[in-house]
Symmetry: D2
Subunit: 227 residues, 4 copies
């Protein structure tokens, strides 16, 4: 079965493994005439990019998206937008020791059972790296929604027992991406960082909550039952 | 709306314009474990490639497909196969004179009305070049079908009034791609070539019929009403 | 696999066998506020209805559609329109002799191979009766298109070697459904009827051509590659 | 847009409003040869049926599903299963007072904005009654899964602050539907009932958690990214 598409009218189909040549996607349904602001798309990809903080993973991926179609002189043409992100930091050799080992809490075992064969280089298709494709397409979606007066925000509102009590209107959402834990509540942020550093030291992990926020949504979006 | 995908379980989504950086696609649903024979895929692309005969167009496109995902050490992994074909022979400058002209029998006018803006470089998305993507994906489909004992053939059986009377079993289908008009009936072929050369000289065109043939198809394929 | 739906935004999903309790469908995507003219829908169903002429089949099906949802006080509400057509003339006993026989040129053998079991009462799902569901949904589509100034016609333009030479503008398309062969060319009609009566007497059949005609279509409908 | 279908290979499309003639659906992709146990389907519908307890709503709906296609002599034939559930207890007159009133916490306002017109009889399409269609189709799915050794359970594990601490293996899941709050932990159940009765008296509501449980699921089901 397929299973790599999201959406009906505005639809992303993604491809790519963490350690292949490239990941990428095809974005269909973007109307003609939208100004594709590359620096905005890059800034969104930079937000996703791991590395650079004491509490994240060590892999450093400077994702640069290359558009191959659907854009002419910086403007969308209405045809599908094909794009790729090269895997520059891919070192399949780093994973040789995993060839015969299944990592816990990864899709390694499931993939082997499902497909019979396994691409052991990193998480393969099940790597978080695939989300870069969604971020690139999501950035274009954001540009489109902005034109219609719709704003989207997301922030970490809880890590373990550190939970934000303030209403979103009481904090400055612009602080979200200045924070190493993407929490706009500066006071709470330091508790979250302490907790995460403690957890990392102990080799432990802890759950959290992301709060999503949409402003300017028109009434009646979506369909009555599904979709 | 979307409109660039074909298939449900085995699904191709394509992107690309004739004079952008690249055309390409994502092929979903190819089962893991299929040997991806690159030279076979290239030979299929070479069949599609225009140029090289007295009766075709003059553009010469040596299409080379580059696979970016879904294949590991020559074997499909079950994940989506992303691929691109670079537009090496793209010369957008050749088309400057078309910036304000609509060619007859092309989608130029329709595109302008539909999208408001037009990428005037070649046929844009409506170019026959887009079919290279389908040929690459179709070649993988053929490899899969071959494993299941299914054979697919297609040949030109009629050009204008030159119509093949022989049953397909009376000709050698292997001759199809040796023929400049892809007609396996050597006798008829010379009449077709003469007719086409005459037409080209007169600045005229003529219709034809392609016969498709599938051998080894299992009983009951497809669904009762649609699909 | 599914395979009983047609369309994406305006979508019909159909169900039903020729000799079950009822056939029917669900029509999604009909906008709210459309006046559902029942007598028009009935007149479209009456056009499809076999029987009543010397040249058709003898089965007489007076199809009456019953709407179960999506319509309130004669106006579409925007929610899915569920409808059924009861199989009043269904006589499964007529088919007992077919229980162990495969009729030529029918889907009997294919169904048995595909599903393992066969509903031998009439053609089951593969009966032309299923098209009544499409006619009912198509009638609603026509009402919607009429509001947008789009007209659709279809007529028989050829039966065997009797081929209409006149352009559609030279005949009165309103005559189409007065004709027993649905050919608007009165002169040609008599030749077609003679040919069909002769064929029926000989236990033979003959091919034909239906010409479809759309007026008022907006420029740029449909998508560049598929759909 | 459509939006009334769920699934790809095994797909339900539903229709119907709470106070129209009937609700129903089309179930596609059910393989041929499955024994359709009507009494099991009825028992599933009875579980969904509101009414009969001190803590539920007062509306009493005895849902009886009528199958119109896809089943022959109690066995699925592989073709789409069309079915309807008549709205016997529908009293549109009960809702006259709502013609010009929007109920809080209902979709009344949203529907009016979305469709321009509103079917004010009950919740229309946005009524919980629509779920009866999913229960009927879900019951057939359960029959199919049972044949493959897959079991599905669901139970209320939390109402307000009454939270089940026991592991599901420590309770008898067969008790779930004997309980008026569908909680298999008999001890906890009485606290939940007390809390709900108190809430109902105060005209208040309270949140809860439903725990779903699948046993016998094969490894590798689903697709890597979406679906």
């Amino acid at each position: 079965m397929a299973g790599n598409s999201f959406g009906t009218l505005f639809k992303l189909t993604s491809f790519g493994e963490s350690h292949g040549k490239a990941i990428g996607g095809i974005l269909e349904g973007c109307p003609a005439g939208l100004e594709i602001d590359s620096s905005f798309i890059q800034s969104e990809l930079d937000k996703r990019r791991p590395g650079g903080t004491a509490i994240g993973t060590d892999r450093n991926e400077a994702d640069v998206v290359e558009f191959l179609s659907g854009i002419h002189e910086g403007i969308s043409t209405g045809t599908p937008i094909g794009f790729i992100i090269l895997n520059k930091d891919s070192k399949p050799s780093d994973y040789h020791q995993l060839k015969d080992v299944f990592r816990p809490s990864h899709a390694d075992y499931t993939y082997t059972e499902k497909y019979g064969i396994r691409d052991h280089r990193g998480g393969g298709r099940a790597s978080a790296r695939e989300t870069a494709v969604r971020v690139a397409a999501g950035a274009i979606a954001k540009l489109l929604l902005q034109k219609k007066g719709i704003e989207i925000h997301a922030f970490v509102s809880s890590v373990g027992e550190c939970t934000m009590k303030k209403h979103y209107s009481e904090v400055d959402l612009m602080n979200t991406y200045k924070s190493p834990v993407t929490c706009p509540d500066a006071h709470l942020e330091s508790f979250m960082v302490n907790l995460l550093e403690k957890m990392k030291k102990e080799g432990e992990s802890v759950g959290g909550i992301i709060t999503g926020l949409v402003k300017g949504m028109p009434v009646g979006l979506g369909e009555p039952v599904f979709d």
